[in-house]
Amino acid sequence: MSELSVNHLLGIKYLNKDDIKLIFETADHFKEVINRPIKKVPSLRDITIANLFFENSTRTKLSFELAEKRLSADVINFSSAQSSVKKGETLIDTVNNILSMKVDMVVMRHPNPGAGVFLSKHVGASIVNAGDGAHEHPTQALLDSYSIREKFGEVKGKKVVIVGDILHSRVALSNIFALQLQGAEVMVCGPKTLIPKYINKLGVKVETNLRKALDWCDVANMLRVQNERMDISYFPSTREYTQQFGVNTELLNSLDKEITIMHPGPINRGVEITSDVADSGQSIILDQVQNGVAVRMAVIYLLASKIKQ
C-alpha cells in the first residue's frame, strides 16, 4: 500500500493497520533526513499549510511547523487561545477565510471534541487534528507507538500502561486506539475519579494500584494531570496524588524488570515523574520529541500526496 485510506487525519479511530504501517515506514525515511546535515527535502514546495491553534500549545505547534518546513511547505500560523465562537465568528467562517487565500492543508488544535471531524465535513481542505478537546491527538499517539517500535522492534504484544489523568486526556484515547490497532495490550492506571467509568468497554484493563500496573507492563506512559480542564478537585492534593501515582527511582528499582518510561510532555517534575526518572536511561521522553517531527512529516507528506492526485 502506498497511500493512506483517509483524506484527513482526524483521529486514530479512523485509520487502519496498514495506514499506521505506511506512516511509520515513511517516518523512518524522514527520520534519516532530519539527521542529515541538510535536514530538508523539497517534497511539498507546492503545498501551503495553515497551523490553526485555538488552544495553547508549544511543543506540538513547534513540531508541526518544523515538520512542515523540513518538507519545504509554505506555512502560516494562527494562534488564538479564544475560541472563534467567543469572538463572534464561526469556526467554518474562520477557516474558510484562511482557505480562500489558497491554503491546501489545515493543522488544527481546538478545545472542542470533534472540531476536526466537523470541519472536515464543511470545508475543502485536508485536516490534520493536532488535538481536539479530550477526543484525540493522533500524531502524539503515532509518535508514541513509533517510539515503542523503535525501542522494541515492534508494538505487537507489548504491554503498555497509561498512567494519570485519563478522563481529560486525548493522548490516552488516541494511544489506546493506536496500541490496540497494532496488537499491544493496554492498561490505564490512575485514581478512579480520573478514569472514565466505561473505559473498560474499549477493551482496556483498569488498575488503580500503580505498583501492580508497573509490575504488569513493558512500557509506562505517564500523563500530566490536566488541572486546567478540571471543574472540581478530583483528588485532595498534588502531594497525595504523587504518593499514589508518581513514579520514582525507588519504585522502578523495586520492580523485577526494567520498564520503559514515556511522557508526552509537558512534564510536571516531582508530580507524576521524578527528575531522576525523567532523565534516566529508562526514559525515552526526548526520543519521543525527535520522533514527533519525523512522524508529523510522514503524516503531512502522505496527506499532501493525496491532495496532489
Binding site: 464561526t90 469556526l91 470533534g114 477526543h135 484515547l173 474499549l202 471543574d231
Partner: protein, 418 residues
C-alpha cells in the same frame, strides 16, 4: 362547516364505528351521520383520500415554537401550521421563549396569538419567575388565564424546598407541576449520555444517575406534599422503575418520553452529528427497551415529540456549542408506527389529554369533530421536504418511517395537506 368524508376507517375505541370504514357527514360543525355510502346532500366539501383513516385528534404535551423572542427558530403561526399538518389538534407549548412565559399577561398574549386556528394551543407557564429557579411564578394567576401546567423547560428545580413548596401551592387549585429530571451537579458539563460512545468521542457524559437521582428526589417530595407531578421526558430504565413503584404507591405522578428516545440510542452520535444532540440525551439500547416496555405497560403515560426548532447557526457548529433539541411534530406519527402497532400509536397520541385537561371527543354522531386524518401505510424516507417548521433540525432526517398525517378537522376548521 359542512363536509362529507368518504370511505374512512375509524380508529377510535370510544366510537361505535371503531375499526369500520364509513362515510362521515359533518353538518353545521357537528357529526350528523356515519354510515356506508352517504350521499353529498348539498354540494358539501368532500374529502376523499387514499387509505384514509380517522382517529380522535392527537395531542402533544411538549412543543416549543420560539415566539416570542426566538422567531428565527419558528413562530406560533407556523408552529400551529406544522402541528395541523402533522395531525395534532392540540399542543401544549412550553414557556421557553424570550421573555419566558411567566405571567397572566404572557399567557394572554400566547392565547391571542393562537386564537382562531384549527389547532388548539395550550400554554404552559413557567414554574419560577423567568425560569430562573429561585422564586415561584404567579402560577395561580396563569392558571386563571388558561395555563395548563407549570414547567421551567429543561431546567431542573435544583432547590428541593422550592419544589416542595411548588407542589404544595399548586395543589390548592389542582395545578400540574412539571419537573425536568436532571441533577445538574452530576450532569456537570456533559453533552451526551455517559457510556462507551461518549468515552470514545472524548465528549463529556451525562450519567443516567443525574436523571435518576432527580426523579427519586421528586417522588419523595411528592409523597410528602401530595399534589400533581408530571415528569416530562424521562430517558433511563431506572427512571421507569422508580415511577412504576411510585404509581403502585398511588402517587399522583405522570411522565412522558420523547419519541426519539424510543427510537435512537447514543451510538448514533459517533459522527458528532449535532442533530442528535438532545436533552435528555439519547441513552443505551437497554434504556431504550426499558422505555418501550414502560410505554407498553402504561408506566409512561404519554409520548411527546418534544418539538424544539433550533436555528441552523446553533446546530452547524462544534458539538459542545450546539444547542439541544430537535423538531419532531412532522415525524412523530411515522416514527411511532415504526415502533408500535397502529392501534398503540393512536392510543399514545391521544392518551395524554386528560392530564393536561384536554377534552376528549369520540367520533360519534352528535359530537363536535376533533379528528386527525391519516394514512397509516405511507412508507417514506423522512427528508427536508417533509419539514414544515422554519428550522430544519430534524433528528429523524433520512430515517425510514411509516405513516403520515393528512391533516385535521378541529375547532370548526379543516386543515388538510395538499
Amino acid at each position: 362547516m359542512n363536509i362529507l368524508i368518504k370511505s374512512a376507517t375509524i380508529i377510535d375505541p370510544k366510537s361505535e364505528f371503531h375499526n369500520l370504514t364509513q362515510d362521515i357527514l359533518i353538518e353545521n360543525g357537528v357529526i350528523s351521520k356515519i354510515a356506508k355510502a352517504l350521499k353529498n346532500p348539498d354540494n358539501y366539501q368532500e374529502i376523499k383520500l387514499e387509505n384514509l383513516h380517522l382517529s380522535q385528534g392527537w395531542f402533544d404535551s411538549s412543543v416549543s415554537f420560539g415566539e416570542p423572542g426566538f422567531e428565527e427558530r419558528d413562530t406560533i403561526k407556523n408552529g400551529l401550521k406544522t402541528a395541523a399538518s402533522s395531525g395534532f389538534t392540540t399542543v401544549a407549548m412550553n414557556a421557553n421563549s424570550n421573555p419566558v412565559i411567566d405571567s397572566n399577561a404572557d399567557i394572554t398574549f400566547v392565547n391571542a396569538k393562537a386564537n382562531n386556528h384549527a389547532v388548539t394551543l395550550l400554554p404552559i407557564g413557567a414554574l419560577t419567575t423567568g425560569s430562573k429557579g429561585t422564586d415561584l411564578a404567579e402560577i395561580y394567576d396563569m392558571n386563571t388565564a388558561g395555563a395548563v401546567a407549570f414547567y421551567d423547560y429543561k431546567k431542573p428545580i435544583t432547590n428541593p424546598n422550592l419544589m416542595k413548596i411548588a407542589l404544595q401551592y399548586a395543589s390548592n387549585f389542582d395545578g400540574l407541576v412539571c419537573s425536568f429530571p436532571q441533577e445538574n451537579k452530576i450532569a456537570g458539563s456533559g453533552v451526551m449520555n455517559e457510556n462507551i460512545t461518549s468515552t470514545s468521542l472524548g465528549l463529556k457524559g451525562i450519567p443516567a444517575l443525574a436523571e435518576e437521582l432527580h426523579v427519586a428526589r421528586d417522588l419523595f417530595l411528592l409523597e410528602y406534599t401530595g399534589g400533581k407531578l408530571h415528569i416530562p421526558t424521562i430517558s433511563t430504565g431506572t427512571s421507569v422503575n422508580l415511577i412504576r413503584e411510585a404509581k403502585k404507591k398511588k402517587l399522583d405522578v405522570t411522565c412522558s418520553v420523547a419519541i426519539h428516545n424510543l427510537y435512537f440510542t447514543d451510538s448514533v452520535l459517533i459522527d458528532f452529528n449535532t442533530h442528535f444532540k438532545v436533552l435528555p440525551p439519547l441513552r443505551t439500547e437497554e434504556d431504550k427497551l426499558a422505555l418501550i416496555e414502560g410505554v407498553k405497560d402504561g408506566t409512561i403515560d404519554m409520548v411527546t415529540s418534544d418539538h424544539n426548532p433550533i436555528h441552523i447557526e446553533h446546530k452547524k457548529i462544534e458539538f459542545d456549542h450546539a444547542k439541544y433539541g430537535t423538531i419532531g411534530l412532522e415525524s412523530a406519527f411515522g416514527a411511532l408506527q415504526s415502533i408500535f402497532t397502529l392501534k398503540k400509536t393512536i392510543d399514545l397520541l391521544t392518551k395524554g389529554k386528560p392530564r393536561f385537561k384536554v377534552e376528549t371527543t369520540s367520533i360519534n354522531i352528535g359530537n363536535t369533530p376533533n379528528i386527525t386524518l391519516f394514512k397509516p401505510d405511507a412508507k417514506y424516507t423522512f427528508s427536508k421536504n417533509d419539514i414544515v417548521s422554519k428550522s430544519k433540525n430534524a433528528i429523524f432526517e433520512n430515517e425510514a418511517l411509516k405513516g403520515k398525517a393528512y391533516g385535521i378537522i378541529a375547532n370548526n376548521k379543516v386543515a388538510i395537506n395538499n
